[in-house]
Amino acid sequence: MSKIHVNSIVNGDPVEFLCEPNETLLDVIRNELQLTGTKEGCGSGDCGACSVTLNDRLVCSCLVLGAEAQGAEIGTIEGVSNKDQLHTIQEKFLEHAALQCGICTPGLIVSAEALLNENPNPSESEVRYYLAGNLCRCTGYDKIIRAVLDAAETMRGAA
């Protein structure tokens, strides 16, 4: 197997990496780029722990090949905050205690940001459907939904 040379933009910065044809974008993000905020859960697209944006579309990075990232823009959890200044969604997750073990949290925050970019004023039902691909085995979801709705309201107020 020869390695594939890939150029992409990750969280706004140009990056270059080499990957094997069988490596997923998740493998590349965690192992080559050392961005370990993105988590592996199921590895089969069911749990959403590895959610990232690929050209502004929310995807499971475990179901994308690293080689597919050539020329693409990727957004991970590391790009959500503004350096040390947490994003409103992150602040609201803390405020509402919307996490326990934390494995699902990066994926949920990346997904919630994608949702609020598309729809700044979602109903509770829209939030629940949009985030249905992010599984959390701790919280029972309610606090997550409250946090996202509160973040949406705060962000609309600030806009």
Partner: protein, 289 residues
């Protein structure tokens, strides 16, 4: 994982050349939501993956007076956001919308759903009732296959070595037509159909059904067209008797299995109910136009 080579052709011809020369070990990569999972299995053969997403025509959808020309690899997220397509083929768009989570929608495609050829694929009954045609190109040229002849079995279809599904062509419906697709799953999101039903109807000015197509999914090895259910609707005003006759015809045509998602008996019953409800929705949509 068994992906040993990754190719990114820029044109359909280039893709065909790679597929033909790599032989049986070459697989077309659209959204990868099935293929990448399959490639991770221990039993997966070594694969050359041919990513067709850099080919513009594979990713585009065009509405013309003749109907829809759909690039098979366009993501469901992009497809379902197209209001111009939804206005003409609401049933096909709602079927595509039912596939997986937001994350899966961002990658999965109608063409991928069709080529993966699962008996429970949501878009397949929806394509059946629209009379969609599959434009397939191979090393020896192009051929067109009716979608109901495309899928031949569980995860099996008519595609030969070296061929690429390059376009899904959906004819422009007659005036007064619409379509609908419904499926049943035990939860509210993110599941695979226990049973599904697609219906397209044409309704005249007096509310009488002049043409219909009915297709059912997840109740046989492939989706099935049910002409008897369609005949039950034609000539009616979608009254309860006609709808029940269509439901009974779908139940009778089904050949379901029992598995952990539901028993055969249950699926047979549910596919009838879905037929009846989808017919009513399609009829209401046709009359609102």
């Amino acid at each position: 994982m068994a992906v040993v080579d990754y190719k990114m052709p820029q044109t359909v011809d280039e893709a065909i050349e790679i597929l033909a020369s790599a032989g049986n070990t070459a697989k077309v990569l659209a959204g990868g939501t099935d293929l990448i999972i399959q490639s991770k299995a221990q039993s997966s053969p070594e694969l050359t993956v041919v990513d067709v997403k850099k080919i513009d025509s594979m990713m585009a959808a065009e509405m013309t007076a003749d109907g829809l020309s759909l690039g098979p690899a366009m993501s469901c997220a992009e497809f379902t956001a197209r209001e111009d397509i939804k206005a003409v083929y609401p049933g096909l768009v709602e079927a595509a919308y039912l596939i997986g989570s937001t994350q899966i929608q961002g990658r999965a495609s109608v063409g991928g759903n069709l080529c993966n050829s699962s008996p429970a694929a949501d878009t397949i009954p929806a394509l059946f009732v629209l009379g969609a045609r599959c434009v397939i190109q191979g090393p020896d040229g192009e051929r067109t296959v009716a979608v109901e002849d495309f899928v031949t079995g569980v995860a099996e279809n008519c595609m030969q070595r070296g061929e690429l599904l390059k376009c899904i062509s959906v004819p422009q419906p007659d005036a007064g037509s619409s379509d609908a697709y419904l499926r049943f799953i035990p939860r509210t999101e993110m599941d695979i159909a226990v049973a599904g039903a697609g219906v397209s109807v044409t309704v005249d000015d007096s509310g009488v059904c002049t043409a219909a197509r009915v297709a059912i999914g997840a109740v046989a090895t492939t989706a099935l067209l049910v002409p008897e259910a369609a005949s039950a609707l034609v000539g009616s005003r979608f009254d309860d008797t006609a709808l029940q006759a269509a439901a009974d015809a779908s139940s009778a045509a089904s050949r379901p299995i029992t598995d952990r998602r539901g028993t055969a008996e249950y699926r047979r019953q549910v596919v009838g109910v879905l037929t009846k409800r989808a017919a009513k929705i399609a009829a209401d949509r046709a009359q609102e136009k």
